[in-house]
């Protein structure tokens, strides 16, 4: 009898804890979110049941590429809890892109990849060689289908197609998520597979071949598989974190077909160029940890850390901090963001090939994206909530401005003749994005 009483008492204490947890979840959710805005009554229309997130971005690199990118994301909900999500992105890039060759004291002339003489270009002494005819339009379409299996399990499958004039990519993915611990914890596991087909203008260069010999073959392909294991945890009523581990492996033609590397003699004169030559496999592993914390009703903040390493010797660290500060009536907010990024160079990265030196690896690439650099991004977003449309609760108009500054950490010894030239010009870029969510 005593035992039975004790059991009941323990059970009651447990229920009390759960009731308290439920109350805290309700109030905590409110605190973390701040006051909810007005809700507009349903007004049937075309957009009912759809939520639309649209943005138009303008990206400008100082002296190089500029891009215009409209994005539309639409989500549709079905009666049984299934959900479909479509995303369409269009990119239009124009401008000048570094071709990988080294700045020199003499003028350098390059043929365009297509071999058309009208597209040949000459780089003045002391300038970084860039292909001034760079132009690329990309359209990408992605779709995700989420299907609840039980109250606590959800399956998602997705596909993505991306098309450019010289590149076509298909990705398929599937993931499963399981909620437990009063829905305070979500575990997810996902896999993906990507198939890419490259049809470079004029053919894909043979890796490491002489630029002047124009040794090219037809189209190439590569493919990748990836897996991700993630956990999302509500820690307290004001703190939530997400932790992911992911791994992916690519195989195939991993070169950038338009990048070349300068060959220089000991005096620093450019004697020729060769196409870059990367290994035909790359495995990347990364860990990502994101924390979101509400500090009172008007302020929330987030800190995200990412660590990545691959078997090419590239290791990168990213830290991003943002702070969202809502105005007292909560229909506007400003969000400053700061991001710090650092990466080490790939083992085979080299800004140039010295013709006098014996090479101990068949691989080489001067692509600055494989070099050592660090970058800082400063961003500011302003958003204004507006009355909703088509039965939606509210809409949001936002403006985001980001400034990106990249600095090379390259330490390769340079022949005396090249000293004084800016061999590793950094990159400065500005992004302006206007978003409308309704």
């Amino acid at each position: 009898m005593q035992l039975r009483f004790e059991t009941r008492r323990a059970k009651a204490a447990d229920t009390r804890r759960q009731l308290m947890a439920a109350s805290c979840a309700l109030l905590g959710a409110a605190a973390a979110r701040g006051e909810e805005a007005r809700m507009a009554p349903a007004d049937s229309g075309l957009l009912e049941d759809w939520s639309v997130d649209s943005a138009l971005a303008y990206y400008h690199e100082d002296g190089r590429i500029q891009a215009i990118e409209p994005v539309v994301n639409i989500a549709k909900l079905f009666a049984d809890g299934q959900a479909l999500n479509f995303n369409v992105t269009f990119d239009s890039l124009t401008g000048s892109s570094p071709n990988g060759a080294l700045t020199s004291r003499s003028a350098q002339t390059f043929a365009s990849p297509s071999g058309k003489s009208s597209h040949a270009y000459t780089t003045a002494p002391g300038q970084l060689p860039v292909d001034p005819h760079y132009q690329d339009d990309r359209i990408a379409v992605a779709g995700t289908w989420a299907l609840p299996l039980t109250r606590v399990d959800q399956l998602s499958v997705g596909a993505k197609l991306s098309d450019e004039h010289d590149f076509f990519s298909v990705t398929v993915d599937a993931s499963i998520a399981h909620d437990f611990n009063e829905k305070n914890t979500t575990l997810s596991f996902g896999i993906s597979e990507e198939f890419d087909s490259l049809q470079p203008i004029g053919g894909a260069p043979v890796a490491g071949s002489d630029y002047a010999l124009f040794e090219k073959t037809g189209h190439k392909s590569k493919n990748g598989v990836g897996a991700l294991l993630g956990v999302t945890q509500v820690v307290t009523r004001n703190w939530l974190f997400e932790f992911n581990l992911s791994v992916d492996r690519f195989k195939g033609y991993l070169n950038d077909p338009y990048k070349i590397t300068s060959i220089i003699d000991s005096a620093g004169n450019t004697t020729g160029y060769e196409f870059e030559s990367r290994p035909d496999q790359r495995t990347r592993k990364s860990a990502y940890w994101e924390n979101r914390v509400a500090l009172g009703r008007q302020i929330s903040t987030g800190l995200a850390l990412r660590y990545m390493r691959d078997d090419w010797g590239v290791r990168s660290d990213t830290a991003q901090l943002h702070l969202r500060w809502s105005f007292s009536n909560l229909d506007r907010y400003v969000e400053p963001t700061f991001r710090w990024y650092r990466q080490t160079a790939a083992n085979f990265y080299t800004p140039f090939i010295l013709s006098t030196e014996t090479r101990n690896t068949p691989y080489e690439a001067s692509d600055s994206r494989l070099g050592a650099f660090h970058a800082l991004t400063y961003g500011l977003k302003y958003a204004q909530k507006l009355p909703g449309l088509g039965g939606r609760e509210e809409s949001e108009l936002s403006l985001r401005v980001e400034y990106y500054q990249q600095t090379f950490d390259e330490r390769t010894a340079t022949p005396a003749a090249l000293q004084g030239l800016d061999l590793y010009p950094g990159l400065k870029a500005v992004l302006v994005q206007v978003g409308w969510r309704f």
Binding site: R16, Q18, L19, A25, L26, L27, M39, P41, G296, G391
Partner: protein, 317 residues
């Protein structure tokens, strides 16, 4: 010290007449040491108590913060307003809709309460009022009338995966049972970031205080729910929340059997021998309200339930 007025503590179902909140604030002195900013929301008298040293203009401003939150919650979740989320959900019965995050968190909460109470706490049970009119008369409904309503009751019948909701035809959601306590906590949060002085928020008897005023604890009167409605108990409250459930004035009496207004959503009939009123102390008003409501739903086992759960309570049989 202030004795809070529980005179007009009403059941959440009251107030069919007041569709538009009367948005007016008044400041009154409460004895020597306290100021009260009074307004009406959710068909209840509401007040914020502050030390009388607070400047009246500042007091009005703080009172307005609380009142705005009360009116906002009322406007958003009231069953009686055609522009509320509740009305919108009802208009879209049979269709999957996506609710906003605040509504989603309330439905999540209702879902947890339903699970933890074994189906006793059910936000879909409001339709039973079509059969039951607790007006003190002897008109108890036909069993068949109650039976006909039961298919329209049961949280399990709705499809809910936050934020997507499908409310089947004929069913209703009623946040009335949690709305007032929730509003107290939300108003408390809004005020706490703006006011470092001691304060007490009281929405029709559901209340929460941050800390005691300089002259001693808050004194809260609990009304004895019988014909002679005079405060019979004065509680000292330092901080935390109190919520009261129950109303002695809402019952039916037939053949000497008293049918209280607490209905069992599983049977559609009143829970026998439930206490007339239960007051519970907890750290948040939402939790206190949930515990007092769950206690009432236990009927004769109410006291035992409160004891088992180690709750501080005051029960009036």
């Amino acid at each position: 010290m202030a004795v809070l007025d529980h005179e007009r503590q009403r059941d959440k179902v009251a107030g069919e007449a007041s569709n538009a909140p009367d948005e007016a604030l008044s400041v009154e002195a409460r004895g020597e040491n306290l100021l009260a900013i009074c307004f009406t929301a959710m068909a209840s008298p509401c007040e914020v108590l502050l030390p009388s040293t607070t400047a009246p203009a500042a007091a009005l401003e703080l009172g307005a913060v609380v009142a705005q939150e009360a009116w906002r919650v009322e406007k958003k979740f009231s069953r009686y307003r055609s522009d509320s989320v509740t009305a919108w959900i009802h208009e879209n019965r049979g269709t999957a809709i996506e609710v906003d995050r605040e509504t989603a968190s309330l439905i999540d909460f209702a879902c947890r309460c339903f699970e933890l109470s074994g189906g006793l706490f059910d936000v879909t049970s409001g339709v039973l009022r079509y059969a039951w009119k607790f007006d003190g008369s002897d008109r108890i409904p036909e069993p068949a009338a109650v039976e006909r309503l039961l298919p329209r009751v049961g949280f399990k019948k709705l499809q809910w995966r936050s934020p997507r909701l499908l409310l089947p035809d004929g069913m209703e959601l009623d946040f009335g049972g949690i709305g007032k306590e929730y509003a107290v906590d939300r108003a408390y949060d809004s005020l706490a970031v703006r006011c470092s002085d001691p304060f007490l928020i009281n929405f029709g008897g559901d209340l929460r205080a941050n800390r005691p005023p300089p002259h001693g604890p808050w004194q809260v009167g609990i009304e004895r729910p019988d014909t002679d409605r005079r405060a019979t108990m004065i509680l000292d409250l330092q901080h935390g929340a109190l919520a009261t459930s129950g109303d002695s004035r809402r019952f039916l009496l037939k053949d000497g059997v008293r049918y209280g207004h607490i209905l069992d959503p599983r049977t559609g009939w009143p829970i026998p021998d439930s206490p007339r009123s239960v007051t519970v102390a907890a750290s948040s008003c939402t939790e206190a309200g949930l515990l007092s409501t769950l206690a009432l739903l236990q009927g004769a086992r109410a006291r035992e339930f409160l004891e088992e759960h180690g709750v501080r309570y005051w029960l009036l049989q």
